[in-house]
């Protein structure tokens, strides 16, 4: 059907217009007309674990430091330096407050990967007979499972072992308290919490002291732990993202849970043989990994080309091997190849979730129709009992 173009800069109330459009045309056309507004076809974004868009409030906080307030925060002799340093320290406090830490325990880095590397280097430098390092992800980025960090922290503290956690997917999404959790080192990523890319932080406990060796040497910034000019606009962005996350934590969590339930319930009620990977209780709701039996994951992703999804984590998406996480939790090889990760975030809407669910159901049904394996299952054949002949 022909979609009419509506000019973006007309004086009509866009919200009322969108509501009307939904009533007349239904969701599919609504989403397509949104795409046409921008003169290019862009898929719905359902991959919030890979990265997140910046919150407009974060951009608002960062811009002055990209334009007018461009001083080096380590310049001690003039106002440009002082105002930049003041912004950096304010951001440091915002990050610390989100995880119940002291600002002196936060080191700005280029991202969670650098923070992770710094923590591992600590092990190499200070290892003694009786010390080691435990490193655990707080929330897994592929299946959304939340690890029992409080218990791990307690055990590590009692055995005098350092405890590091990569909290990139957990910060700002679940309440974090580094004291309660007895965490010694924590990695934080900016672009996973609606902040800018290229910045992160490392929490380094002061009491009891965690002695660190720097990964990067130079001018001695960040207490000598991480030399290099701290990028004030990025640090301010990270701070603002943390501040907003703290305010919005409850609201976002309940909304994401609602949307996640909506998606999963819709899909599972319409098609059989769908498995959710990972613990159903101990999880962050916004990361949903589903395996669709008798459907190949990559082909389903291609079929859902107007929704931005992923199978497995972005870090390993170049390889064709199934996810190591799924293998680790004991998923069958064939189910591991059939998995898709749905990411829901702060900006996801009911319309997007409904469209994704509908499209997913439609495409899974279509792909299964074409599958000889599915045909055999329908006839009651147990696939595990088949002796495949060798060619």
């Amino acid at each position: 059907m022909h979609i009419r173009r509506f000019p973006m800069n007309s004086q009509i109330n866009v919200y009322a217009f969108l509501t009307q459009m939904t009533q007349y045309y239904g969701v599919t056309e609504l989403i397509k007309s949104r795409e046409l507004e921008n003169d290019e076809l862009r898929p719905l974004y359902m991959d919030f674990q890979a990265t997140t868009p910046m919150d407009p409030r974060v951009l608002d906080a960062m811009l002055p430091y990209q334009v007018n307030y461009y001083g080096n925060p380590h310049s001690r002799t003039h106002a440009y330096g002082w105002e930049s340093e003041s912004a950096m320290e304010k951001a440091r406090k915002q990050v610390a407050d989100l995880i119940a830490a002291d600002p002196r325990e936060i080191v700005f880095t280029s991202g969670a990967t650098e923070s992770n590397n710094m923590s591992i280097k600590l092990l190499e430098e200070t290892i003694r007979q009786d010390t080691s390092l435990v490193s655990v992800m707080t929330v897994n980025n592929e299946i959304g499972v939340r690890q029992p960090v409080e218990d791990i922290g307690r055990i590590c503290r009692s055995r005098n072992v350092f405890f590091h956690t990569d909290a990139a997917q957990a910060v700002g999404k679940i309440p974090i308290n580094v004291s309660d959790w007895k965490v010694d080192l924590m990695s934080i990523s900016g672009h996973k919490i609606y902040g800018p890319k290229g910045v992160g932080a490392l929490y380094v406990r002061r009491r009891p002291r965690v002695r660190m060796e720097p990964l990067q040497n130079g001018g001695g910034q960040e207490r000598g732990l991480r030399s290099g000019t701290v990028p004030t606009p990025l640090a301010v962005g990270l701070g603002a993202a943390c501040d907003i996350a703290q305010q919005e934590l409850e609201y976002d969590h309940s909304r994401v849970s609602m949307l996640a339930n909506r998606l999963v319930r819709k899909i599972m009620s319409e098609i059989p043989d769908v498995v959710m990977n990972g613990d159903p209780e101990q999880r962050y709701p916004g990361c949903i990994n589903l395996s669709f039996a008798y459907v190949e994951g990559e082909s389903l992703l291609m079929a859902l080309k107007d929704v931005a999804l992923s199978s497995g984590s972005a870090c390993t998406s170049a390889s064709l091997e199934p996810s190591y996480v799924l293998r680790a939790i004991g998923t069958d090889e064939d189910l591991a190849h059939s998995s898709i990760r749905f990411g829901i975030g702060r900006f996801s809407t009911e319309a997007e979730v409904d469209y994704t669910a509908d499209k997913c159901i439609q495409q899974v049904k279509r792909l299964r129709e074409m599958s000889p394996l599915w045909e055999m299952v329908q006839e009651g054949i147990d696939l595990k009992s088949i002796k495949w002949t060798q060619h």
Partner: protein, 79 residues
């Protein structure tokens, strides 16, 4: 000056109007929804100091949205 219903409603209308101007579908729907939910959640706040504080937050957010309209023009695309 005590905050009146008229002031609250006026702020609400301004926020909704500015929020509807985001060209990005996700930002627009988020702003509209968030403003609506925030006003609803604080509907029964009585303490005048609290009301004033919330209204100031609302006004700050309104300024922020207005500023951000200039950062999200439709022509902001990769060339």
């Amino acid at each position: 000056m005590a905050a009146s219903t008229a002031q609250v409603l006026s702020l609400y209308r301004k926020l909704m109007k500015e929020s509807s101007k985001f060209p990005s579908y996700n930002y627009r729907t988020y702003a509209l929804r968030r403003v609506q939910d925030a006003f609803r959640a604080n509907r029964s706040v009585e303490d005048p100091k609290m009301v004033e504080q919330l209204l100031n937050q609302g006004r700050d957010n309104l300024d922020m949205i207005r500023r951000q309209q200039d950062n999200n023009p439709t022509h902001l695309q990769v060339v």
